[in-house]
Amino acid sequence: MATPSLAGLPRWVLVVALLGALLVVLPLAAMVSRVDWANFFSLVSSESSVAALLLSLRTSAVATVLCVLFGVPMALTLARAAFRGQKLLRSLVLLPLVLPPVVGGLALLYTFGRRGLLGGTLDLLGIEIAFSTTAVVLAQTFVAVPFLVLSLEGALRTVGTRYEAVAATLGARPTTVLRRVTLPLVLPSLVSGSILSFARALGEFGATLTFAGSLQGSTRTLPLEIYLQRETDPDAAVALSLVLVIVAVIVVGLAHRSGTAGERRSAEL
């Protein structure tokens, strides 16, 4: 579209939309206004802040890889297979989206904790999850995987099975069809879903706090660091929050771009 057009929309829609946008933008602006710019760099480059940021990026990256690893087969199963209880399974898989993070943390604790469902088994295998970086990654994966499943399942349904059927009659085995046809067709959605998962993992707080603990360098991610900084040094907390917001904005921007690319492609199909 060359020129912006507001034609055809009732004026009240625009007014309400503006109010809604303010609700989102104003708090961010207010936070930016509180940033102590003179000391910004020294605030965000303290040892604990850098450690938290690096830990966050590292764990979120691993969590995103896990989301792709588990999420792709889950989305394929939900989109392509037909079985009893499929609807229920979909609702369950998407549950972390609406679950309060602390509840998620408790659920993980009761599963992977020392006295949890799998705790004894893991203990026997010599795997300790509590208070480890693994616990952070688990918590992040738990809350982020629905984003990937949701966006990928939608894309798979939109693309349909016709290309897969053709590929099969050309002699491609199911794994070849998946690798050379299905996944390339939904690649834009896979990318945007992964980016959203990464963003969600980056922002994970409640489940990590409840499940993984908080120790600099191993479990104290950026959101936990911000929460702790706020106790003693609100300026540092605000500065770090801004860093998190900037990372999130970049990530959402990337996801949006690959999302529109995906839409363009499915429109061409």
Partner: protein, 253 residues
């Protein structure tokens, strides 16, 4: 990805808090006072308020319990309150610099540290020094929060350096890690052990008496109901008030 679905995901968390916060404002009634109190005071202060209300019919006490530094931040941002009861002198001090009180803050209770272990004490902890043993997963408060500052001081007094598996940002989180059995031991306040009511066992540290945490209370200068507010502070310091606090594990001022 379906745009509509994405929208719902993004929009839900924005809409939900609105409907909730709409009902959380304190009543503007003249005969009520709002007390900002440290989270560790929840149980005893609720009981104290019942006694106070019985003595002062027509006056109701509305509480806001949270971490002391949270409450201090909220007061600085202009949250309306009549009384502030902090779990440490630091939060109170941070406030007094920028904030007028009616008179000086008065210490109404003290609290000391104790070791909390899961029921049955599986790793057989008997002393503070045991926490530093290899194979004991201890959890403490981060040094940047009051309970962590106190823990660091206690470490100095006892002469033991802990290497905790986690430094939590609140004493509740420390307690949670211990009661769930994730950690073998945690350093918390005596009152927390008392309040946990069997979910953890307490082990007294003899040196803890040297690291006393004082709880100051003050009436805010811009209180709309100064008379009732002052009466509440006085009631907390009265014999009746002190008896409730003592029962909850607090020490005398």
């Amino acid at each position: 990805m379906s745009r509509q679905r994405l929208f719902v995901i993004v929009a839900l968390p924005l809409i939900l808090p609105l409907s909730l916060s709409a009902c959380a404002g304190p009543p503007g009634d003249d005969s009520s006072i709002t007390v900002f109190a440290a989270a560790s005071l929840r149980a005893p202060f609720t009981e104290v308020a019942e006694g106070y209300e019985a003595q002062n019919p027509g006056t109701t006490v509305v509480f806001s319990f949270a971490g002391s530094s949270d409450l201090a931040t909220q007061l600085l941002e202009g949250a309306p309150a009549d009384v502030f009861a902090s779990a440490d002198t630091r939060s109170m001090a941070a406030l007094t610099e920028a904030f007028p009180f009616r008179g000086e803050p008065v210490v109404f209770a003290t609290n000391s540290l104790e070791i909390a272990v899961p029921p049955g004490n599986p790793t057989a902890i008997t002393s503070f020094a045991d926490l530093a043993d290899d194979g004991v997963r201890s959890v403490v408060c981060a040094e940047r929060v009051p309970c962590g500052t106190a823990t660091a001081a206690l470490e100095e007094v006892v002469g033991v350096t802990l290497s905790p598996v986690s430094e939590e940002s609140s004493v509740t989180d420390v307690l949670g890690k211990v009661s769930s059995g994730e950690a073998d031991a945690g350093v918390v306040y005596a009152t927390d052990v008392q309040a946990a009511a069997g979910a953890v066992e307490g082990i007294i540290v003899p040196e803890a008496g040297e690291v006393i945490n004082a709880y100051p209370i003050a009436v805010l200068a811009d209180s709309a109901n100064e008379d009732a507010a002052s009466k509440f502070a006085a009631y907390v310091l009265s014999t009746a008030g002190q008896a409730v606090l003592e029962a909850a594990g607090f020490g005398a001022p």
